[in-house]
């Protein structure tokens, strides 16, 4: 996924107008401008890359085929995220694991991936996976608010509008979520540390 340089609001509105009139190049630019952020948002919300890909595609298709409904008073990304979130919720409802066993197997797989990445020396990757796992340990609201605030730098009032929550509630979720995230990451670091020690002992 190619990184896009941020563009101003007027520039973005012009792009939307062109795409709405059927300009394929403008639509292409619009997708490139936002796909990384919406993919990151959805991936970290659901923790499943295949779902994130499907959701992002579907969200963009819906947006691009309904561009005439876009209200220029609002941010395009807000609209896109709202649609993507709705698509994700519907998709997850449909793809819900059929049993607790499935869920356990899925999370075990993620845990093994973290372990394996760490032992392979890819500390960065392990940290990223640990972050994903830590995010999944948060409640849906906490995770979403944390992501929108820290990953996408949305202000509290906008998050409140997006989720239909009072700002105080948003802040409350944000604060609890942050601390929980730190705690889970610290626990994971401890586990990884002991695993590394065990590996070193085994070599010695």
């Amino acid at each position: 996924m190619s990184a896009a340089t941020p563009m101003g609001k007027s520039q973005e509105l012009a792009l939307i107008a062109r795409a709405s009139a059927g300009d394929r190049v403008a639509a292409d630019s619009l997708i490139r401008q936002h796909q990384a952020s919406v993919y990151g948002y959805i991936l970290r919300m659901c923790g499943r890359p295949e779902v994130a890909e499907d959701v992002v595609q579907e969200a963009f298709v819906r947006v691009l085929t309904n561009l005439d409904r876009f209200d220029p008073r609002f941010r395009f990304s807000t609209w896109l995220f709202t649609i993507a979130r709705r698509v994700m919720i519907n998709t997850l409802e449909k793809k819900k694991p059929s049993s607790d066993t499935d869920r356990l197997e899925a999370s075990a797989g993620r845990g093994e991936a973290v372990e394996s990445a760490y032992e392979g020396g890819e500390r960065r990757l392990a940290t990223r996976d640990a972050l994903t796992m830590a995010l999944m340990s948060l409640s849906m609201e906490q995770r979403e608010i944390i992501l929108l605030f820290h990953q996408h730098e949305w202000p509290i009032w906008l998050i409140g509008e997006h989720l239909g929550m009072p700002e105080g509630t948003v802040k409350s979720h944000l604060h609890r979520g942050r601390l929980r995230l730190r705690e889970v990451l610290a626990e994971q670091a401890t586990v990884r540390g002991s695993a590394a020690s065990r590996a070193e002992e085994a070599w010695l």
Partner: protein, 347 residues
Amino acid sequence: MKDFNDIRPDGGGAPAPMLGADSLINRILDAEAEGEVLEVRELVRSGEAADAAFRARLDATRTAVGELSLLPRGPDLTARILARVEASDRPFVVRPERVRARRGRMLAACGALAVLSLVAGVQRLWPDALSWSTPSRPVTDLVAAARSDVSVTLDSIQGAFAQVGTDLSSPVSRLARQATDASAGRGRVAIALMPLPSEEMAVATPGVGDGFDGADVRASGSRGVLALGGAEVYDSRLELGALGSRLATDLPVRGAQLSAQVPGDAPKAMLAAVGLGPVLEPSARPQALMLLGENPVTCAMHRVEPERLTDEMVDGPRGGTSPRLLLPWLDLSRLILEADGKEPRPQ
């Protein structure tokens, strides 16, 4: 160590809620997000003064949320998205066009619905008005009459034969006008007419009781015989007795009767006829077969191509008196159906 409850985050003298270390960390991170550098500095200093481990906890929290700013890598979905948009119903259509298109589709759908309703109404009121296929020749009156009044039946048979063609209808048209049929109305009707067979051709009637054999029919010489009856078991004596004398005077062709036992999947009744005498070449083989169903629309008259018939199909088991003798007729009808391709079609 100072208690966090002593820290007043606003740094001023105004009363403020007492904060714990984690609350202070949250406050710092919020202030950082809002770009309140001075406030952040003040709060950090306060926290450090209260707890030596504060800085470590703050850094751990910053690291945790700081990781979030790095977006995970994903595939470039641009081409796939655009392909899906292009393939969608109305890609990149602006609102007025979309409304116009929707309105057009609605109008088309309403129009189609109206036409279908009209067709259904007409079809219901005048069932034949919208028939695209060549209409079958209905012989309802024949089937109905055969169950009620043989005299009417005979008239109907004349009419039916008239439709077959001059060659065949001429001799048959002079059938007797009056007859009674004791077996009328007994379930399915089977009607068969054929000339008196040649000497080599055995004729037998099924369901005939003791004292009757095909020889009696043959003995009637040039007199044609018409047989009517129920399909299951045809009691030829009744019809022969009732009809034979009348027919003998009016039917110029030599004929013999044969009735049919009609299985469930066969036409519900059939009428077979052959011409003989001045109009058609003498033949012992049926030259026309009429299949009658309860539904008049399905009734059809077929000419039989003699070359399609085998002797066995026509003659049946020689000298038999069993219903099996009727099988040639059924086979004949099947043959015609097969020759036609599928369903019987009117000629």
